[in-house]
Symmetry: C2
Subunit: 238 residues, 2 copies
DNA sequence: ACTCGTAAATGACTAAACTCATTTGTGGAG
DNA sequence: CTCCACAAATGAGTTTAGTCATTTACGAGT
């Protein structure tokens, strides 16, 4: 009767892919269920699209009751975020690992973002919903996870910037994190415009490099080691 | 008699605040109804918040049937966009008009964005939903209106850039529109982060100027007219 | 004035996300 | 082993955005 009272706080959605060293049957079962839910959701989102896939179906496919589903994700949208992060973490790692470390900084950055674009191209409909959901996450836990993810992602870009500075290719009076955020902002805005159908993918591709180059220009150090010979870049204009 | 032939092209949601010179009773009634809908929606969104306000209530308050509402807006979200643009166009004009034209470019830009932030602060809950909806507009008409709006807004920034170039305060090899888009991207990303509760307003305020400055740095021409005396800026780092 | 094509209005209805009171299962304390 | 506290599961029920077949009202041509 007056039992449930408090401590409803912890969402179940904690573990995700992590392996805890020693867990009871209960914990294990919970993790298994979560995994089944994520797989069911991914499968149905891919097959039928986000709106068309009903929570009933997902629950059914995960072999749980409809109510149970909402113990794991507060909303249908949260399900999508779970699937997304599941995919995304390895992708960032890979994009960073395969970046052409000796190429100019601009090329490295472009490579990085290209990988994300390739990912979103696989399922544009889902990507649209995703971008939309990223901007308004209700659950604090989910928000914290997103925050961490972005920190991680932007951190990788900052690493590229620092490397370029260490190699004397970029002015050292530029704060790497701020620059990384700006570069990401430029990319992200174009991504949003593409997925919101404000611009086409073609337009995206034509603009991304030019836009990033504009943020980097002025900070790049030319071939000559001393950085004293500065000839005006005089790039082509729009 | 056969004068007004067929001009049937206009979608219902067209006129918004515009006044057409000669319109029949029908047209006028339609416009009135649209206005009543927008007012009813604004009032209820403000009072009860976006989710809590039901379409039934809005229809009732606008004194129309529930079905009629959806002849004017395809979704509840579209209602919000209508209210938003109603507010926003005058705001952009005003922000541009009051920009401190003699101040450094950075200050002008910051002034511009500050006005938007002030607007969103009035009703943060609504602003959140808004930002979310801007990224995924289903109706092509609505999307086109948004596109126009952004073009207008970014165009104003580009104007500021061009003015600075004309005054010899900014390098002329910088494409104004691309720069304007980049500056807006930096602002917009921070706005999203604020409204998505990834950062606080305080953090926004601390970062916006620094981030914009980083995009402009390198293109600014120093006091000395010739632009030949270049001392390294050596600003504080993060 | 009459008529007809069609724009606009309408509200009962449907579908589906989410809730919640209740039941079931688990692990640990005695 | 037994029992209990509580975590987790459950599905019938509620709520509300959005639909659609039907009706109403306008206005252009005669």
């Amino acid at each position: 009767m007056a039992t449930i009272a408090k401590e409803r706080r912890k969402t179940a959605v904690e573990a995700e892919t992590l392996e805890a060293p020693s867990e009871g049957r209960r914990e294990r079962k919970k993790r298994r269920t979560l995994q089944r839910i994520i797989r069911a959701a991914r499968s149905l989102f891919e097959r039928k699209g986000f709106e068309a896939a009903t929570t009933q179906e997902i629950a059914e496919r995960a072999d749980i009751g409809t109510g149970t589903l909402f113990n794991y994700a507060k909303t249908k949208e949260e399900l999508l975020l779970m699937v997304f992060r599941d995919d995304m973490m390895p992708l960032v790692e890979s994009a960073f690992a395969t970046a052409p470390k000796q190429a100019p900084l601009l090329d490295q950055i472009v490579h990085y973002f290209d990988r994300f674009i390739a990912y979103h191209r696989r399922d544009i409909k889902i990507a649209k919903v995703l971008i939309r959901e990223l901007s308004s996450v209700h659950s604090p836990e989910q928000r914290e996870k997103n925050r961490e993810f972005v920190r991680f992602l932007v951190g990788k870009i900052a690493d590229l910037v620092r490397a370029a500075q260490a190699q004397g290719k970029l002015r050292t009076d530029v704060p790497p994190l701020t620059l990384a955020h700006n570069l990401f902002a430029v990319y992200y805005r174009l991504l949003e415009n593409w997925l919101g159908e404000y611009i086409t993918l073609d337009q995206y591709e034509r603009r991304i490099r030019q836009a990033l180059e504009l943020q980097l220009r002025g900070f790049l150090i030319e071939e000559s080691e001393t950085a004293l010979s500065r000839k005006a870049p005089a790039r082509r204009r729009r």
